[in-house]
Amino acid sequence: MSNIIKNIIKLKDEVVENISKIKEEQQLNNEKAKYLGKKGIIAEAIRMMDTLDESGKKELGRVSNETKKLINVCLENQRKLIENEKINQKLLKEAIDVTLPGTKIKTGTRHVLRQTVDEIVQLFSEMGYIVAEGPEIENEDYNFEKLNLPKNHPARDMQDTFYITEQILLRTHTSPVQVRTMLKNNGNKPIKIVCPGKVYRRDDDDATHSHQFMQLEGLIVDKKVSISDLKGTLDEIARKMFGEDKKIRLRPSYFPFTEPSVEVDVTCNCGGVGCNICKQTGWIEILGAGMVHPNVLTACGYDPEVYRGFAFGLGIERIAMLKYGIDDIRNFYINDIRFLNQFN
């Protein structure tokens, strides 16, 4: 066998080892040129072909082709290896401690009272009620007189009032919104509203009293409304607010603007065993309600012989306190961010 062929065969062994040692892509290119380039070893050998006989030529052709293929395969493999290595290096370099805390992206929190109002309003909206609102600085007429609470009525003691003048006051309940809505409707349209809002009473602020608090009232006025409708509505709301397993009970009470009047209790989470929250009774008082007093209907332009209605009112703070186990009403108005953000 001619030396030329032998050299190439020898080259085969050399190439595999050489290429596998290469670490840089550039070097790989150099190597390719060295073997396969126009002036590369193989090209050089082929130029010498004429010096061989016919079978030598054939043999050289075969060997050099094989070698070329081999070199190409080796180069390609090595290139892939180098690329992989590069990526691996990059990955290694970019590896991070995934346990470090993420960048803080804060969303704000709606005030828990607002959330409570929204939830309740949502429930009533689904039942077809519309939100109505009214001023907080009210006429005595709307806050008391038209609600069957004439001057010097003993029940006014139940609501100690901030007066501005003799006729103007800070509303002590959201009920004047009922009055305004009825008057607006001229006594001939059904009403189905909920009225959330701030109210004020002369109470010293302590864990259970606040001179400012939020109420939500509901009112239906229509031709055929009954106590059973009121009971059904409250039952529905209590279950949606406090859980499907909850029951309500109505107890007689007194509000000048409703007759009959009731207090509404819902079963306590303790399941009736008795606990501190329900004061061992198994029931928690959640709201006051009743059938709209005929005097109120009359004062607000509705004929009590034709129209009837029911109304209910609940304290938002109380509901939120029950729902979240908050023990001091002042928390709602201090706005400690540690308090606010618990309701996010």
Partner: protein, 786 residues
């Protein structure tokens, strides 16, 4: 109202269980605040003091030998202990209220085998006990017996929380009627009072000179012997929370508790005349009341006079000069009806709320007045040995006999939503002891005068439904349907609230009442404000003009607790005419600080402006931010912007003045406000705009301009000139310093041009830029930066 079981039981035919009664009361009548034993002391006996010696080692203690069946040595500290007394002894092993266990003990090395007790120590309310020290028992009490039983103090008390419409329950007789109705049991009522009268006729003239007294009855009882009341009477008073004083006073209290009619007893000999005139007080008139306090009267007060001077304030309190005392012989007993409102006004003004005034205020049974007078007369004869002078002197202007209410079965069932029968309803009226006539399905109901709250059909329905039981009322839903849109204000509150929390701000709710001196702390104008009359404190005296007062207070509260990064907003009202809705907010500290990353954004003016711009985008109108020439002194004059929508002021952003921040221990603090009543008035339906189809051309443009020209001025001009090809403009650099003249600055804009119809020729863009530059030169004297 405290209800004694022993007393109530006297009106009922069967033994009741107070816990059951309380439960039924709360479900069918009135709230029950407690049911408790009057005293739950155990192992208590009657003892007799055989001897008393000074304690060898303690000045204030005595060593007593007490006979309780055997002789016990007991150390006693009471001042009033004397040999021969019968006393209450708690034996070793007794448990007194408060889980106080009596043990064999050595008191300063002297053995003591029990305790001699006062009533207070047995759990009787202190205000009902008239003996300061140990209770001294009557001599006839048998040694070794249970003294509580002998005193009538083994009792249970149910306390009712009464609503204003049930004054009838401020009497035992009323509670008895109610018990009968809710337990469906039989009751026994009081027989007509009986007493003997002497021949002497009452010599008294009564005159009523006011509309505030309708009925007045008086009786005279001679030769009364003032003394202690019998134990049964005292026990009832104690159980009712009333302190026994003497037989005459106790009887009038007893009858008031029994029948609900307040009575008054005058010492007749001290009246000084033979007439009683009831009239309005005159201006400047005075009276010293039983409590020894001199009261100045007003024309609105009603007084009982002897024809000349006031001797009592009607329905509120008697006068000192005619008070019954130990030497009283002749009593003038008064039972009257005074006007509810009048008594209420007077007692409220004088801050004199007595058991009597409270009953007058709520309203008493007009038909009980004379009955009560006779009942008290009977007791005075029986218990104080009095001789009843013949006749009753009275004036009766009100002889109301009760409401008649007609109500139809259908109406009842429709109103309640149930299907009661005539018989069921009649049964309820029977339970309530209401008389009625039934004609077909129509009831005519005669409401007794004791139930003065029941005056219309709805009141009657309440009576029916509560006795029937709310638990039996079916559950239905109203069919009412209305069609109305939600109000704009509700809509604004909702979407602004969601937007603000989405932007990372926390919502607060603060008080509307603020200190008058802070009213203008953060306002742009000084408008009139609303002042509360008689405020509870200076800090809650006027209605705020901005929630910022409260928000800043909350910020300070949080800073004091090392919560430094705060972004608060409140949607609330400004309490001026119309109570306009406003959005207020305060930001301080840094945003989303991730400590280990060491990069974070400090809140600055532009951050706040960015927030506001995001909110205002919803309005679709164009807003301008203008630096005011003069502003609130608490605002930083260089970092305040008023926000205008055309000519209308719609809000502001301000950094608080460094001086204000320093004085209030605040760090850099930014406040903002949007007047929501002037914004988002018509939120339009969003209309889709076609996306830019052809490629856009981007050009940068740096303009050198006088330093005091505001960026918005240049931007507006470019925008105006660049239209319609200029699609977007953004400032990307502000520079002043090297290569720029002293009083100039460079503003660099990124401009994006595009044509909706075709690919834009870059030549056209260049021409447009030239026009813009020319315009800037002409109008603002600016030029391209080299």
């Amino acid at each position: 109202m405290k209800v004694s079981k022993n007393w109530l039981q006297e009106f009922l035919k069967i033994e009741i269980n107070m816990k059951d009664l309380a439960k039924q009361f709360s479900l069918k009548s009135q709230e029950v605040s407690s049911v408790e034993k009057l005293t739950d002391a155990t192992k208590i006996v009657v003892g007799k003091i055989i001897s008393k010696e000074k304690h060898p080692n303690a000045d204030k203690l005595n060593v007593c030998q007490v006979d309780v069946g055997e002789t016990l040595q007991i150390v006693c500290g009471a001042k009033n202990v004397e040999v021969g007394q019968k006393v209450i002894v708690a034996l070793v092993g007794a448990v007194l209220p408060g889980n106080f266990k009596i043990k064999k003990a050595k008191l300063r090395s002297v053995e003591s085998n029990g305790m001699i007790c006062s009533l207070v120590e047995l759990g009787i309310d202190k205000k009902c006990c008239y003996s300061e020290g140990i209770e001294v028992l009557p001599d006839y009490f048998e040694i070794g017996k249970n003294p509580l039983e002998l005193l009538g103090l083994i009792d249970e008390v149910m306390e009712l929380d009464l609503t204003p419409n049930r004054p009838d329950l401020m009497s035992m007789i009323g509670v008895a009627y109610e018990t009968k109705a809710i337990l469906n049991i039989e009751a026994i009522y009081l027989p007509e009072p009986k007493f003997k009268e002497i021949k002497e006729k009452i010599d008294l003239e009564i005159k009523i000179d006011t509309i505030n007294c309708s009925n007045y009855y008086a009786k005279m009882i001679k030769n009364v012997k003032i003394g202690e009341s019998p134990n049964w009477l005292k026990a009832k008073l104690i159980a009712s929370g009333v302190r026994p004083i003497n037989n005459v006073v106790d009887i009038s209290n007893y009858v008031m508790l029994e029948l609900g009619q307040p009575l008054h007893t005058f010492d007749y000999d001290k009246i000084g005349s033979k007439e009683i005139v009831i009239r309005q007080a005159t201006e400047g008139e005075e009276i010293t009341t039983l409590d020894g306090i001199k009261r100045n009267l007003l024309i609105s007060d009603v007084v009982i006079t002897n024809g000349e001077k006031p001797i009592a304030i009607a329905g509120v309190m008697g006068g000192l000069t005619t008070a019954v005392d130990d030497s009283t012989k002749t009593i003038l007993l008064e039972s009257a009806m005074f006007d509810q409102v009048s008594v209420r006004i007077t007692s409220k003004r004088l801050e004199l709320r007595s058991d009597a005034s409270v009953r007058f205020e709520k309203g008493i049974d007009v038909q009980i007045t004379n009955f009560a007078l006779n009942r008290a007369t009977q007791l005075l004869q029986e218990l104080a040995g009095g001789e009843v002078v013949k006749g009753t002197e009275f004036i009766e202007n009100n002889n109301f006999s009760g409401e008649e209410i007609k109500i139809d079965l259908n109406y009842i069932n429709e109103y309640i939503g149930c299907k009661l029968t005539v018989e069921e309803i009649e049964n309820i009226f029977d339970l309530l002891s209401f008389d009625y006539q039934t004609t077909d399905n129509l009831f005519k109901v005669f409401v007794p005068t004791r139930r003065r709250g029941v005056s219309v059909r709805q009141d009657l329905i309440e009576e029916i439904v509560r006795i029937y039981g709310y638990d039996k009322v079916p559950i239905t839903l109203p069919k009412t349907q209305i069609r109305e849109e939600i109000s704009l204000n509700t809509y604004k509150k909702n979407f602004i609230g969601k937007l603000m929390t989405g932007l990372g701000l926390d919502e607060v709710i603060t008080y509307s009442l603020v200190n008058e001196k802070n009213i203008y702390d953060f306002t742009l104008q000084k408008e009139n404000y609303v002042i509360v009359s008689k405020p509870m404190s200076l800090d809650k005296a006027v209605m705020r003009h901005t929630p910022l007062n409260g928000i800043i207070k909350s910020i300070k509260y949080n800073l004091a607790r090392k919560n430094n990064d705060l972004r608060f907003f409140e949607i609330g009202h400004k309490y001026t005419e119309g109570e306009p809705l406003i959005l207020s907010g305060t930001l301080t500290g840094v945003i989303d600080k991730t400590l280990w990353k060491k990069t974070y954004e400090e809140i600055d003016f532009y951050y706040v402006k960015g927030l506001i711009e995001t909110v205002l985008k919803k309005d679709k109108k164009k807003f301008s931010f203008v630096k005011p020439e003069k502003t609130n002194e608490n605002f930083h004059p260089g970092q305040t912007a008023y926000i205008y929508q055309e000519e209308q002021l719609v809000g502001f952003i301000a950094k608080l003045h460094p001086k204000y921040q320093f004085e209030n221990s605040l760090k850099d603090t930014f406040i903002f406000e949007l007047f929501l009543d002037k914004l988002f008035e018509d939120i339009e339906q969003i209309k889709f705009k076609k996306l830019q189809k052809y490629p856009v051309v981007e050009r940068d443009l740096a303009i050198v301009i006088d330093r005091d020209i505001e960026a918005s001025c240049v931007a507006d001009l470019i925008e105006k000139t660049g239209k319609p090809l200029l699609l977007k403009l953004e400032i990307f650099d502000i520079y002043q310093g090297e290569n720029i003249p002293e009083n100039k600055k460079s503003i660099a804009f990124k401009l994006i041009f595009g044509d909706k119809e075709k690919t834009l020729d870059s030549e056209i863009v260049s021409q447009k830029i030239e026009v813009i530059v020319k315009e800037i030169k002409k109008r603002l004297n600016g030029k391209l930066r080299d």
